[in-house]
Symmetry: C2
Subunit: 289 residues, 2 copies
Amino acid sequence: MAISHLHCLQSVRVSFPCHPSVSNNYYYGRDNFTRKSISLVYASTNNLDRDLHLQSKVETVLDSVKWDNRGLAVAIAQNVDTGAILMQGFANREAVATTVSSRKATFYSRSRSMLWTKGETSNNFINVHDIFLDCDRDSIIYLGKPDGPTCHTGSETCYYTPVFDLLENQQDKEDKLALTTLYSLESTIAQRKGELEVPQSGKPSWTRRLLLDEKLLCSKIREEADELCRTLEDNEDKPRAASEMADVLYHAMVLLALKDVKMEEVLDILRRRFSQSGIEEKRSRNSQA
Amino acid sequence: MAISHLHCLQSVRVSFPCHPSVSNNYYYGRDNFTRKSISLVYASTNNLDRDLHLQSKVETVLDSVKWDNRGLAVAIAQNVDTGAILMQGFANREAVATTVSSRKATFYSRSRSMLWTKGETSNNFINVHDIFLDCDRDSIIYLGKPDGPTCHTGSETCYYTPVFDLLENQQDKEDKLALTTLYSLESTIAQRKGELEVPQSGKPSWTRRLLLDEKLLCSKIREEADELCRTLEDNEDKPRAASEMADVLYHAMVLLALKDVKMEEVLDILRRRFSQSGIEEKRSRNSQA
């Protein structure tokens, strides 16, 4: 749903400068937090009334957040395309207000007692497309697109330490990112691709066979797409349709691996299409329908 | 990557009882936290040595977590299949130890000053497949599969309050979940399906046309699958392959909408296949290769 609002929210983005002048009028102490005054100053040459109105609305939303006794709420940055949790920090009013106006994920550093925008040093900003509050209004998601690796270690995300591997004494293995099903599958296929040069004894895995035989792979993709269609044409049951879609997805992802294309790139394309009035527009433009 | 370890970690699960007896020997005060002693007691009839060894390892991992001055770390529950952030709470040592042993996402309730396992009242447990620590070791992901809606409101996740909609005065609209690209697309298609009975003037959207014309839809799915294959066969460039995959995915998802199948069901199938030695096994079993 984040996508569908990209267009209508352009107006918000336009009326807010990218790097607003936000007065540093919050005091953050060790044990308490005092909000001295509300005076976020947004510069706007063209539409002052509109900006003041928006500023007032931002203040209302910020008032509704249940800040803890330190004036903070948990802020989680999530990749809008892959769903990967990139990092987690804390945000105060000013951090959220800055994120709203700049569209760059901004946090409050408890160790340095100051605002910090992720990427201000590394240039790996997280470009925020939408912000969500939870039911208790004390937890925030910054849903956005990272410019590069989020972790200061250079890792794509900060979550690369798997507890069950540690318990299995597998801490010597290279870091393992927290991956959800689609990206875990992608990673498995990539691993098989990386092993192609290694001679293997015994029966090769199905993925290995597909990777080594483009003709077989393409015949399977066409076959699985056909079988998916037949679940509709022949009125087959739901589990059959889900299973055929799983086959289509898996085999197509093997092809993507051969082409060095990531699922994230595919999803990026879909997001852009739908935020620009969608595939419909593309289709009508190309008269493919 | 979570998937690939499901199998090897069965041993951990087996040696841990589902609901271990964990002694409540942590004191949680308002301003400080005292770990009085380490004496998690795991019952095991068959393999006491192994359990003691594992218990020791769990303690070592818990020692590595950077607990705050309240003895807590942020704990985020994420859907292993969709990537949706289900909820965020806090965990102390005991909560994480309980999650490791029971495989049910468990938190520490700051308001009630006690452990609570998500689902203990609603039965909507979050079945944890893997646990990840972040680079600073003060933030935790419980990667798992929810039995039902996670939020106490009945919402699928706790994050259904979009800030930019509030700023656009769209708070009257029904709740909008924080959805990543794939699920935002799924939601858009479902919305179009829900509008099929509503007469529309003007040119119908491409999605509407596909939903109303199964023959057209299936011909497009077969055509797009063929075009995806040709990016490999004809050695077309990467952007072309990504674009064709986006077409395959979108059109296939329109078919799934007609069949009332969710992408989550498809990913659930893929996860189970790969955790049971994968599609390879299925293929070799069925001699489809």
